[in-house]
């Protein structure tokens, strides 16, 4: 964490507020995008995450009913795979979480069984990375460039819907 870490950029957090991304009304507009991502990549869970300064907020989701994440709708940011894309502005893929140098000790891996992850950033028209569209699985797997492109395409649709709410 540095003073210039995008996670703590006040303008980025203001953009999240301006887009009203913490409202429960966002989920119905994004849940089918998450469902489509899970279906097309053949994985049980997909999230449209909003990465805050100290936590990840679940703005839209598929496959988390019955999990603790379905109740909390978020978790501490230090467990977040999605925070990486806020910093790099690029896709982040983890094919074997249990052996990944950053995430092998992540409680989502050690306690909750996450084994693979692929996410792409949601970038607003003002240039801020809001969070990610991601898929999560409980078994190791590889992701092809085509898989990532599917996520990018759906992420663009998610951002379009998010910004349509601002315009409305």
């Amino acid at each position: 964490m540095t003073a210039h870490d995008p996670l703590y950029d006040a303008a980025r957090l203001q953009e999240i507020a301006d887009l009203d991304l913490l409202s429960p009304e966002v989920d119905p507009t994004l849940a089918d995008v998450a469902a489509l991502a899970a279906e097309r990549l053949g994985l049980p869970v997909s999230l449209i995450s909003v990465v805050l300064d100290e936590a990840l907020h679940v703005a839209g989701a598929h496959g988390i009913d019955g999990l603790w994440l379905g109740e909390t709708r978020g978790h501490p940011v230090e467990w977040s795979f999605c925070a990486t894309s806020v910093r790099t502005r690029d896709a982040f893929v983890v094919e074997s979480a249990a052996t990944h140098p950053e995430h092998a000790t992540n409680p989502l891996v050690t306690q909750d069984g996450v084994r693979c992850y692929a996410g792409v950033p949601l970038i607003s028209s003002r240039g801020h990375v809001l969070g990610n569209l991601c898929v999560v699985g409980l078994e190791e797997r590889s992701f092809s460039p085509a898989d990532v492109e599917v996520l990018r395409e759906l992420a663009r649709e998610a951002v379009r819907r998010i910004e349509a709410r601002r315009a409305a």
Binding site: A10, Q14, E54, A55, H57, W68, E71, P76
Partner: protein, 99 residues
């Protein structure tokens, strides 16, 4: 300021946020002076004294007041709410599992 003394959840290494955490979070985003001002304003709105906010219900009341400030301050407040909610949910599960 003493850090929260509530139990760390085994396996998750998670403790609930307290006043020092919230103030530090605000100062990371808004700078030392402006972040501190926002925290003090929230404490006053909640009828509490900055630097003397106890864990639990008093702290949660200040986080609510912080949320009411709106904008990016409310986003920082939501981070605290999520961390509190996650701690409560996982602590309850851990307590149930140990019975």
């Amino acid at each position: 300021m003493q850090p929260s003394t509530r139990t760390v959840i085994p396996g998750y290494s998670l403790r609930p946020p307290g006043e020092a955490d919230a103030r530090a979070a605000l100062q990371r985003v808004f700078g030392e002076e402006r972040g501190g001002e926002r925290w003090s304003q929230a404490c006053r709105a909640a009828g509490l004294t900055p630097g003397r906010v106890e864990d639990g219900e008093p702290f949660e009341r200040v986080v609510e007041a912080l949320s009411a400030q709106g904008g990016s301050t409310a986003v920082v407040a939501r981070s605290m709410e999520i961390r509190l909610r996650t701690y409560a949910r996982l602590a309850a599960h851990a307590a149930g599992a140990s019975r």
